[in-house]
């Protein structure tokens, strides 16, 4: 316990790194995932193909490999980005594929009558998606989308392997430096993650209850 108090600054910094990494990656994933989902149901075949290709590729690529291409591959085409940005992009681009799949399942669950009614009113594809289908889809996908984002928080731990000093990276660093109090370090790291995931799970549950639509 004493160890945790002595090294509080270290844990706090690592915690903030994990938190900001998660929030930024979440933003990337949500925006890109929504665009991809819209592309996957769009009337234009090449757009559907492109989005399908993206989703299939990222779903079948280990996140570590995505990190690899981001950190070691990009410099080969003369883009040098720092480790943190690389981590945000890797986690964000990877998660976007799963966000897209969650949203698509939501779009498919909106009853066809809704879309037919929108079309009958003369709304265009973009309008019916924006005004009618997506608002309902977002509501039904709150639980799966929440799960994807919570899983993403845990996935940010992989950044530890690529020189980002976030929570998990404390383990190898502190374990070698301090002989005692290993349990404290482990507990500190686990608690750090739970401080993000548990409130998120609670928030997802709250939002779910608030926006749920009965069918």
């Amino acid at each position: 316990m004493q160890f945790l108090i002595d090294n509080f600054d270290l844990f706090w910094d690592a915690f903030l790194t994990t938190l900001s990494l998660s929030l930024l990656a979440c933003l990337v994933a949500l925006v890109l995932g929504t665009v991809l989902a819209a592309m996957r149901v769009s009337p234009i075949a090449p757009l559907r193909g492109l989005a399908t290709f993206y989703v299939e590729t990222f779903r079948n690529t280990p996140l570590t490999v995505v990190f690899f291409f981001m950190i070691f591959g990009l410099p080969q085409i003369d883009f040098v980005i720092d480790f943190f940005t690389g981590a945000v992009l890797s986690v964000g681009l990877y998660t976007a594929a799963f966000v897209c799949e969650a949203l698509r399942s939501g779009i498919n669950s909106v009853s066809p009558g809704q879309a037919e009614a929108a079309r009958a009113l003369g709304l265009t594809f973009g309008q019916s998606l924006r005004e009618v289908v997506l608002p309902q889809a977002f509501r039904t996908v709150v639980p799966p989308l929440g799960n994807v984002l919570i899983a993403m928080v845990k996935n940010t731990s992989i950044a530890a392997g690529f020189s980002v000093s976030e929570l998990s990276s404390l383990l190898p660093r502190l374990v070698n430096a301090s002989a005692g109090d290993l349990t404290a370090i482990l507990v500190g790291v686990v608690v750090g993650y739970m401080l993000i995931t548990l409130p998120s799970a609670l928030a997802v549950h709250r939002i779910e209850r608030r926006v749920a639509i009965l069918r």
Binding site: R59, T61, I77, F98, R104, I150, K154, S168, P172, Y193
Partner: protein
């Protein structure tokens, strides 16, 4: 097409507009690919002799990558078998009638689902030695994968067992079977068939996660590629880096695509036979310690 109700069948003008849009999009995509190739070419990364090393047995590269692939598959295979067996036990334990079994088993499942897989692996690899238990990278990686995936698989098995109609369970008891007989003779055989697609999909995730071995220096594909890069860099300078990384990454993607195709095939088969497959939340398939919290 997933939701054809979202738009009308396109008329000639819309089709023309779509064609123009597609053409512009195609030009953009080609421009990006061209730009990447140009940059790569400008840095000399596309020279054939740089790529030839990947296929030249004299360089030792194909053999090294082959051995790394075998090591990757070894971890995956051992972890898959152990995680499936332990997951099954945990699932049955969580459905037990006895509170003293149900509660600790639930705690174990929830604990391992809640923390990142990498933290489990780190705990096994860095923390255990301080208590006198020294694990090899192979054991630490396999152990982490087993502990995490057994918890995820336990939930998949439980969902499968619970999805069986209650009448089956009651009829089993009605025939005078014991609890264990109802589970092994009635529930599990039916549940297994329904769970098969999700089970295979989760095993694909496990295979993906073997790449975490890179971080604790287990010589799987990525770490092997890194090792080769360091070796060649000491001889020729930064000459084969990009090629080796691309090769390792592509092998990973290839085996995952193959296994995903197997997963989809089992799903189709299961659905065709008129039984509804249990579906997994997308988060459970994210890997890297993903899964619902």
């Amino acid at each position: 097409m997933t939701t054809p109700v979202l738009f009308d069948v396109q008329g000639p003008r819309a089709r023309a507009r779509a064609r123009v849009g597609s053409a512009i999009g195609a030009v953009l995509v080609l421009a990006i690919i061209g730009f990447v190739l140009l940059r790569l070419g400008g840095n000399g990364q596309l020279e054939p002799e740089r790529w030839a090393i990947l296929f030249d047995p004299a360089s030792g590269v194909p053999q090294a990558l082959g051995r790394a692939l075998v090591r990757t598959l070894q971890v995956a295979a051992v972890a898959m078998v152990l995680a499936t067996l332990l997951g099954l036990l945990l699932a049955v334990g969580r459905l037990s009638d006895h509170r003293f079994i149900r509660v600790p088993v639930s705690a174990v499942i929830e604990f391992f689902r809640a923390i990142p897989l990498l933290v489990v692996i780190f705990a096994l690899y860095f923390v255990l030695p301080k208590y006198g238990v020294r694990l090899s990278t192979f054991t630490a990686l396999t152990g982490g994968l087993v502990l995490y995936n057994m918890a995820v698989l336990a939930e998949i098995f439980r969902a499968g067992i619970l999805s069986i109609d209650r009448g089956q369970h009651e009829a089993g008891f009605g025939l005078g079977l014991r609890k264990s007989q109802v589970m092994t003779l009635i529930l599990l055989p039916q549940a297994t068939r329904r769970m098969l697609p999700v089970l295979v999909a989760q095993l694909v995730v496990l295979l993906k996660d073997t790449s975490l071995g890179f971080i604790i220096s287990y010589l799987e594909l990525l770490r092997q590629a890194r090792g080769l890069v360091e070796y060649f860099n000491s001889l020729f300078g930064d000459r084969y880096t990009f090629q080796l990384y691309v090769a390792a990454g592509l092998i990973y993607i290839l085996i995952n695509v193959l296994l995903s195709m197997l997963a989809r095939y089992t799903e189709r088969r299961t659905n065709r036979a008129g039984r509804k497959a249990v579906t997994a939340a997308p988060a459970d398939q994210m890997g890297g310690g993903g899964g619902a919290a």
